[in-house]
Each structure stands twice: as structure tokens, then as C-alpha cells.
Symmetry: C2
Subunit: 210 residues, 2 copies
Amino acid sequence: MQNNETMSAAAPRQLDRLDGRAREVMFTGARTANSFADTPVTDAELSEIWELAKWAPTAANSQPLRLLYVRPGENRQRLVKHMDEGNRAKTASAPAVAVLATDTQFHEHLPAVFPVRPQLRDTFAANDAMRSATATFNATLQAGYFILAVRAHGLAAGPMAGFDAAGVDAEFFSPGRYRSILVVNIGHPGERPWFGRLPRLHDDDVVQWA
Amino acid sequence: MQNNETMSAAAPRQLDRLDGRAREVMFTGARTANSFADTPVTDAELSEIWELAKWAPTAANSQPLRLLYVRPGENRQRLVKHMDEGNRAKTASAPAVAVLATDTQFHEHLPAVFPVRPQLRDTFAANDAMRSATATFNATLQAGYFILAVRAHGLAAGPMAGFDAAGVDAEFFSPGRYRSILVVNIGHPGERPWFGRLPRLHDDDVVQWA
């Protein structure tokens, strides 16, 4: 699609960068909250989180992530009972909770969202293993985007993998189609909302150069 | 760990939000680049990308993502031959390329990075299926963080799942330990760097409320 002559002739476009304050909001200053103030999180705020996260990239624009926002009340109790014991109190008390799931039938949307190769729908329909792997991988990428989009809105995220996924699926979703992958508490941080920051690996244990 | 009485008494901390320009950089204005200007990307820039991405959360602070930065030259050619044909030209011409992999032995670091439960190392050592699932899931979350951290630095990312992962692993990594999950081209956008923006799903197809 491109060659080096064409690219050398192009004036590089300078993209904007995040300033130091925005980097703190998204990465260096943000923390996983374990307790929340009782300031409500509005449905409009929750909709705006997705309005940001939805633009980040997925393979073949497949967008397999699905969200279930569970507000306080009876439905929250239906969710809490499927959380691991150590996650129940914070999930019960968060102003909002999102269940993140992957749509194993995401390929049905491909002709609409990836019109350049509408035949991909049938390719995925014919290959359950590839479809499942693509659904899980891309929904998980989108879960990463989602967590950062929560932060972009000035809210704290509390992602939790400790829950009974099959139980949550049976409780809230049509049989067999969605598979929940992560539960995320959302709110303003409360009192003593986080522990001391845990160490990150040394760069030498993570980054290689070739 | 918390109760509602304590939380009601807490003054909510107001976290900062991203302004409109920063939202554009990260989400609404950012695009996946398919061609790059020949402006170099320095090793310092590549190190800074990880310096941001490493702070975003993983389960039990497990941090299973590993990065291999492949600079132009002979090593790049070793990578390009494992890319799907449609990805070869852009991978060959990108100023920098990152291979993102998961460390299947991430649990060896847990006593250092999650000292509150050092026994988790042995739990993961004894359960290959759980260890593999945790490695893949959390490294994929981190891949999402990484793509957004590239953007935070004013660079365009070009993530690609179309490559021979087993071939890349055999080419660059110790046998059996790392499994590559994504390859990301990094640079300043070149001429005609992206196609028309593809449609996102309607919110009604993604977001449910309970």
C-alpha cells in the first residue's frame, strides 16, 4: 500500500502529546480504587466513558466488547453474589459497576462495521476457534481502553477478575452469546481508597531491544 | 475493608479529567496509521512509552506483558518475514516496531511485585491453565494500555494481529517462555496514513443497563 519514495516526500504530521497533568490522570498518578465516596455517577457519565473508549482500535474493527452497567439496588445484589468474597463489599458500595463481556457472535456486525471485507463474517462463522480467540483478544484490548477511559472522565476504576463468570453470564445475559471477562467498579475515590503503590518490574525484565 | 458509614464521612476527592484536546489525542481524534514519515523514533521515546504504560493496572500486579523493540535493519527483516503479506510493507517501513508478548512464567516475579501475597507464586506454578489464562488476559489488557501510551507520546500506533506468532517466538525469544500476542508499528504518520474512519457499533448494540 505504500512505498518509501512516497513516504519520504511526505511532510510529517506532528501529532499532539499529552502534557504532564494529563499523563498523571491517565497513567502515572492514577490508582485502582478500593473504596468510593457516595457521590453518584450519572448515566450520562457512564455513556460518555463508552463514547471515548469505543474509538480505540480493534482487529478488522470487530469491536467485540459489550458493557452492562449495573446501578445500585436489586440488580447490584444479583451481581454481588457472583463476586469473590474479597470483592463483594466494594462492588456493593461502588456508585456504578460495569460488567465487561465479549460477544462471541460479534461477526454478525462485520458487514456493517468492516464493509471493505464483508465476507469476513462468513470466515468467522465457519471457524469457531478463530472467532472465539478474536472475540476474547479484542474485547480484552478494549477492556484496557475502557479502564483508561474511566480515568479520562475524572473517575476512579476498580477492575476485578475475581468473580464467577459463568454465574454472571447466566444471571444477566442470553444463554451462550456473551462471556463476561472483567467487572469494573466506577466512582470517586473514598476514604483511604488505595493501598501503597506496588512496585513495577524493572525495565530490564520487561523491555528487550533488537 | 470499607463500610458505608466511613465512606459517607469522607470528603470526595475530585480527580482531574482530560480536556477536549487530550481526549482527541487519546481517543476521539487518534487513528491507526498505515504509513509513516521517515522521522526517526528514538530509543528514549520508546522507553518513555513503557514508562507510562507500565503504571496501568493488572491482576495481582502481575504485569505479564513483555516488549521487544525492533529497530530498522537486519533484525527488522527477521521480523517482517513472519508478518502476513498485507502487513509486511508497513512493518518494514515503520520507524520503530514493538513485538508485544506475554511471559508465561510471570509468576516468578510475584513475590517481588505483589509482596502482600507472595504465596501466589506457588499457586500459579501449580496450575498451568490458570497461569496461562492470567498471563494472556493481563498482557492483552496491557497491550491496550500500550497502544494508548504510544498516542500519549504524540506518536501513531499501528497494531497488527496478522503474523505468525510461533515463527516470531522462535525467531526472537527463549524457547517456550514468551508468546507474542501483537505487533505494533510506531511512528509519525506519513502521506495518506489512514483510510476513512470505519463506523462504530451503535451504543444500543454494545451497552446494556441493569
